[in-house]
């Protein structure tokens, strides 16, 4: 069989070449990501832990009733070490530590997800528009972001919560606001990198307005980076929430936030160090899970881009 290099530009692919092409097309984006993720043991572990946490969040109330066990004091059994009836001991109010930690998971996850979702939406939209529209709009917005970023991260959240008053809602707002610049930056640089590409031009030629282009073309392209950053930001949000609650500027007692538990446990840590050990472990395990998932996602999503 001779190869016809005729005047037309169509390339006659041989059967072997077609077979190879088919093999690669089958792997969709999602499949590839999942395959990459599966290879990473750490990411899988992270995913499992998060799945467990989600189950805890859903079922915590059924295991330990909030009203009766988590916040109801019973001084007769106060400050008891770990035992069979109270696997992680009781605190200074006689409340079961394990119950409080499980309910604390709800608080932490709620704060993490809510604040990340808010900062992602607002930051992402601001950044995407800034990058796309450009000009003075972009410059002004980026200067404002620079101002936000000039303040060390936790101090900004601290100031906001201190001003608005310490409770969970304000904590979520504070953490969200302090993370907005990060997402704004990511979206903006993603937008800038594809702004002048052909398919955006094509959209414009077809008459699509700015908003349509931003939402349909631009944002889906940065999805990979957003997902990775989101998991990292959620991990960090949990630490900040715990830190601020620790100094009394976050979730207020008697809510069983892990940081707040550490704060009250501090007084008794000399003789009852389990009060300080377990809530902290809960934080560490949760944060590690999110971080490992984020790392795994990054590794799974990145090489795909290189291929």
């Amino acid at each position: 069989m001779k190869n016809n290099v005729s005047n037309s530009t169509k390339y006659q692919a041989t059967p072997e070449e077609l077979a190879i092409l088919k093999k690669y097309k089958k792997r969709s984006w999602f499949n590839e990501t999942w395959r990459g993720l599966r290879k990473n043991k750490g990411a899988i572990l992270g995913l499992i832990i998060i799945a467990i946490l989600i189950l805890i969040v859903i079922f915590a109330d059924m295991i330990y009733s909030y009203e009766n066990i988590v916040i109801m004091p019973d001084y007769s059994i106060a400050l008891q070490g770990p035992s069979s009836s109270h696997p992680l001991g009781t605190d200074e109010f006689g409340r079961d530590v394990l119950a409080r930690i499980l309910h604390g998971a709800r608080l932490s996850l709620r704060i993490a997800i809510a604040s990340t979702a808010i900062s992602l939406s607002i930051g992402g939209i601001v950044g995407a528009y800034a990058g796309y529209i450009g000009g003075w709009f972009d410059t002004v917005l980026m200067r404002v972001m620079d101002i936000f970023l000039a303040v060390p991260n936790m101090l900004l959240a601290l100031a906001i919560v201190a001003a608005l008053g310490p409770n969970m809602f304000n904590l979520i707002i504070a953490i969200a606001i302090s993370d907005i610049p990060r997402f704004a930056r990511i979206l903006r640089s993603s937008v800038l990198s594809i702004k002048d590409t052909e398919f955006v031009e094509a959209s414009k030629a077809a008459g699509a307005g700015t908003s349509t282009i931003v939402f349909r073309e631009v944002i889906p392209n940065c999805l990979a980076q957003i997902i990775v950053q989101a998991s990292i930001v959620m991990a960090y949000a949990i630490i900040i929430a715990a830190s601020l609650s620790f100094i009394g500027l976050g979730v207020q007692p008697p809510a069983p936030e892990w940081g707040a538990m550490l704060s009250s446990g501090r007084e008794y840590m000399r003789n009852h160090n389990y009060l300080v050990l377990f809530p902290g472990l809960a934080i560490v395990i949760t944060v590690i899970a999110f971080n490992m998932l984020g790392d795994g996602l990054r590794d799974a999503l990145d090489p795909r881009l290189k291929k």
Binding site: M1, K2, N3, V5, T14, E16, E17
Partner: protein, 335 residues
């Protein structure tokens, strides 16, 4: 050609890459000799195994996943695989040097060009810092770069100049063997000519034995004395430059020459070799070239060709020249 004492003798080299997805048979029993002051061209398409061969000689194979399975690399009468790490470090840069393919990324961005040349001098010769710096300047002049530029950084040089710096580094200690891996591929034609001319001067001046890896037959014609044609990890034809250019034997070699545009026969269509290079992790059985060979017959699918000699220096690995194989290549007449 007189029988010269060989600087380098590679015997039955086999290199494999063991990755988690597959096993890649990069080099499959390669043997050749390079005598003093001879330039051997190592020709083949991308993926033929040329760079792997060069890295094996330098003992710079990325290990994992690459593994030299068997073979000897004889230099100065010894197999360099038997050298200790220290001795091998002393050999690289001083006895055997290599110039790599992509000059853009082959120089350390945070060191001056002069320092990078001086480094190789100081490593192998007992010179002081000052002497080495002077030596570096001299090397720069030799490759046609002003010695004033010794204190500049790689990013301040163009691609062609960077490649010349690489040559300067490789030759600073006057090695017996120079391996150049596609030294001109990343450069445009005019710069190519400059770099080649530098290499020719060096060849004349120092009698260095050279292995020039390339896929460009024009470069081969310009500077090489012998040619090894490589395909799927084997040398399928070897000869002097006259033998290969005037009297090639292997169907693949024919394909390589046939796909060259020819000014005198402008109206003829280009004849690219049909098919693609085989996947080195999944090589065809028998003769690796048989799926693309216009002369292939049944026996080529199962039998591995052995060397057939046409002269002391010219051999080919093709069943078409083996008497009684049943493969029809009208003897010596495949033009």
């Amino acid at each position: 050609m007189e029988h010269e004492i060989s600087e380098l003798k590679v015997e039955n080299l086999v290199v494999r890459y063991d990755t988690e997805d597959s096993i890649v048979h990069a080099v499959n029993d390669v043997s050749f000799e390079v005598p003093k002051s001879i330039t051997m061209g190592l020709v083949g398409e991308t993926g033929a195994g040329k760079t792997t061969t060069a890295l094996a000689i330098m003992r710079l194979l990325p290990d994992p996943p690459a593994k030299m399975i068997s073979g000897k690399i004889m230099f100065n009468g010894e197999d360099i695989n038997s050298y200790s790490e220290v001795k091998m470090d002393a050999t690289r840069g001083q006895e055997i040097s290599m110039v790599f393919q992509d000059p853009m990324s082959s120089l350390n961005p945070v060191m001056t060009v002069g320092d990078q040349i001086a480094e190789v001098i100081m490593l192998h010769q007992n010179k002081s810092k000052k002497e080495a710096a002077l030596g570096a300047e001299e090397m720069l002049r030799m490759v046609g770069i002003s010695s004033d530029r010794a204190n500049e950084y790689p990013h301040q040089f163009s691609g062609g100049m960077k490649q010349r710096v690489m040559i300067a580094i490789a030759l600073a200690c006057n090695p017996k063997i120079l391996i150049a891996d596609e030294p001109t591929t990343a450069l445009d034609v005019t710069i190519q000519a400059q770099v080649l001319s530098v290499m020719k001067d060096i060849k004349k001046k120092y009698d260095t034995a050279m292995i020039l890896i390339t896929h460009d037959l024009g470069v081969v014609a310009d500077i090489c004395d012998t040619v090894a044609i490589m395909y799927a990890g084997r040398i399928i034809e070897f000869g002097t430059i006259e033998e290969i250019f005037d009297d090639y034997k292997h169907p693949y070699t024919k394909g390589l020459f046939g796909s060259l545009p020819n000014l005198e026969r402008r109206n003829e269509k280009l004849k690219p070799i049909k098919g693609i290079m085989p996947d080195p992790s999944d090589l065809p059985a028998g003769c690796h070239f048989h799926p693309r060979c216009e002369y292939a017959s049944e026996i080529c699918k199962t039998m591995v060709p052995e060397r057939i000699y046409f002269s002391k220096t010219h051999y080919v690995e093709c069943l078409g020249y083996k008497k009684g194989s049943g493969v029809e290549i009208k003897g010596g007449d495949i033009k």
